[in-house]
Symmetry: C3
Subunit: 158 residues, 3 copies
């Protein structure tokens, strides 16, 4: 029997939405789905290393790089962000309930062989360099996404 | 012939998005689909009773409870919220066009046997108690969602 | 062999999300999918002509018409909008990378026979008149959407 397939386009760069995406993805992998997360636009920030990396950039690329969060743990919430208090509150509560932070969920995704893809077009537009992206990520375009999604059982845009 | 299936992850807590979710869900049920709405994160607020319920809560849980809307009719809009004017304007127009408010769409969903699920993890994180949630709601996790979605014809994340 | 099918509910009225929707749609059409974009709520603004059209409207309809963007090129970003600076920055970068603006992506969608649908209910609620909508758009309801989506390979809500 063929494996079931789940694909997620992760467009959002909000901590809560990235968390939802990775919880669904890890769940699907645990149920033996083949899972792909295609990171595009702000969702790409989930794949950034959390420290600044020395790379050559144009002025605009540097600016984008500075303004956007380096990795999931620096993201805000889509609601009740409250100038940065919201993420702290949510993370405190998550800790109390032994819920994994998003950075751990990403690690888990890699261990479960979830395919993490960075949208090449957005990478180019926002001026990210490969050195700034965590290891184990593939770079591809919308054609690769569609090839996965057209046979997908569960396809979501988050 | 097997029934078609529609599943919606309702993550958003905005009035307009909750409305879109319930219109699609009710439409699908009318077309004889088996329909599940899995309420997670801010979408959970759509299932809250609209009055305060006396339950034991930690300080943090009380705070979350107060800051978040009790039921759909207290939600804001994802756009043009204008400090609460937006929802009022939209509701006035909806009334003039005989469009159902979201609270009625939820009632209709129950009458059409749409399965309303509250994400247990979010319920725990945000500290909701079962007494605060409207009747007829099931509590389940991502595994239950995936079991429905993997055979779904239409799966959406809203 | 039957054609693969992609459907997108375009609910959002943010430039970046509309761009993502039309890039996926055009990609799917290029891979020989039958594609439908169902524009509802703020997504409807993507289909507005970019100049004011003389039509009879109620006070409320006029107000909505003024407050909402006329066509995609007047939309803001879902993130880093920075009081209108964000869209300008993104468009400058897109130009440098020879990426099509959204208005061109919509033209391309029409050339590729992507079915562009305006949600009749939202059209009525927000008081849009047919003369204000670009040519080649169909008007339909949730039933038509579901008829397309229930056989869809890729169904997304953006």
């Amino acid at each position: 029997m063929e494996k079931k397939k789940t694909t997620i386009v992760l467009f959002s760069g909000d901590y809560d939405k990235v968390m939802a995406a990775y919880i669904i993805a890890n769940g699907a992998a645990a149920y033996d789905h083949e899972v792909t997360i295609f990171h595009t636009f702000w969702g790409l920030n989930a794949l950034r290393k959390d420290e600044p990396i020395q790379v050559k950039k144009t002025f605009m690329e540097k600016m984008f790089g500075k303004m956007m969060p380096r990795g999931p743990e620096k993201m805000g919430l889509s609601k009740m962000n409250m100038a940065g208090m919201g993420p702290k509150m949510i993370k405190d509560i998550m800790k109390k309930h032994n819920t994994m932070p998003v950075s751990d969920l990403i690690e888990m995704a890699k261990e479960q062989d979830i395919k993490l893809v960075a949208c090449q077009m957005t990478v180019d537009l926002l001026g990210f360099k490969q050195e700034e992206i965590i290891d184990g990520v593939e770079f591809a375009g919308v054609a690769a996404y569609l090839a996965d999604a057209e046979d997908g059982n569960v396809n979501l845009f988050i």
